[in-house]
Symmetry: C2
Subunit: 164 residues, 2 copies
C-alpha cells in the first residue's frame, strides 16, 4: 500500500469510528488528516484534502482547538493561520477523556444525584438502580483517569501490568 492511500483510508476509518462514538464525522476526519500530516496545514489545505466547504473547515478546526487536540501555528511571512495536531496519542486520549468528562459525565452525575431524592418507602429498587449507575459511571471515570495517568509515567508501569 502507498502512503497516500493508507492516509486516506485512515481518514475514512477514523471518521466512521468517530460517528459510532457520537463524534462528528468531519471533525474526526479533520483530526485524522492533521494527525497523519507531517507538515502544518492551512484552512485551504483542509478544504482541499477533504473536499469540504470553508465554513465546515473553519468550524471543525475551531472545535478541535476547544478540545485541545490541535494548535494554531503561524508561518513567518504568511498571513494565513496553520494548524498542527497533538501527535502523542496518549495525550490525545487524555484530552478527549477530559473534555467528555466535563461535558457529559459531570452533568450526568449531577442529574443522578438529584434523582435519588425520591419520596416514599416503596422506591428502594429505583434508588438502588440509580446509585449503582452512579457508582459504575464514577468508576469508569476513575479507571480511565488512572489509565491515562499511568501510561503517562513509567513509574506506574506496575499498575498497567496488573491489568493485562
Amino acid at each position: 500500500m502507498k502512503l497516500k492511500e493508507a492516509q486516506e483510508e485512515f481518514i475514512q476509518l477514523w471518521g466512521n469510528f468517530g460517528t459510532q462514538w457520537g463524534i462528528n464525522k468531519t471533525m474526526a476526519q479533520v483530526h485524522a488528516l492533521l494527525l497523519t500530516s507531517d507538515e502544518v496545514l492551512s484552512t485551504d489545505d483542509v478544504m482541499e484534502a477533504l473536499s469540504i466547504s470553508r465554513g465546515g473547515a473553519n468550524t471543525n478546526l475551531r472545535e478541535l482547538m476547544v478540545w485541545n487536540l490541535i494548535y494554531k501555528v503561524s508561518k513567518p511571512g504568511d498571513r494565513k493561520e496553520f494548524f498542527q495536531a497533538e501527535k502523542d496519542i496518549w495525550e490525545v486520549a487524555k484530552r478527549i477523556t477530559r473534555e467528555r468528562k466535563r461535558r457529559e459525565i459531570e452533568p450526568l452525575m449531577m442529574h443522578l444525584k438529584r434523582l435519588k431524592e425520591v419520596e416514599g418507602n416503596k422506591t428502594e429498587s429505583f434508588t438502588t438502580l440509580i446509585s449503582d449507575i452512579e457508582r459504575m459511571v464514577g468508576r469508569l471515570d476513575t479507571v480511565s483517569e488512572t489509565l491515562m495517568r499511568a501510561e503517562e509515567s513509567a513509574f506506574f508501569g506496575s499498575i498497567i501490568r496488573l491489568l493485562k
Copy 2:
C-alpha cells in the same frame, strides 16, 4: 420528587446520554423504561409509556435483545410477549462493552493492522502513529474487560482498590 416523575426524568436523561455516545435515543429510552419498571412490560405498554409507534417499539425491543440487555418473558394465560431488563448494572455494562467490542473495536483493529503495510522508508511516523493507536485501543479494551471481571467477583477487590 415523586417516583413517577423521577422515572420519567431518568428515561429522558438516559436517552440523551445515549445519543452522545452513539446509541439510538429511543433504544436507550426503552432500556431505561424497562430498567426502572418493577413489572414486565408488553410492546403496548412501551408504546404507551414512551408515545412511540408499534414499529418503533418492536424494532427497539428486538435490538435490545440482540444486545442481551433485555429478555422475553411470557405470562401464563396471555398471548402477548412481555419484556424484562437485566437489572444488574455491571452485567449491563459488561454486555454493552462486549457488543461494542464485537461490532466496532475488532473491525477497527483489523483495519489498523492492514494500514501498517505501507511501502517505502519515509513512512516511519505514519506507522508509528497507527501502532500507537492500536496499542491504545487495545489497552482501553483490556482495561474495560478487566474492570468488568474484577467487579463481578469480590476476589478481585484489591485490583479495584488500586484504581481508586
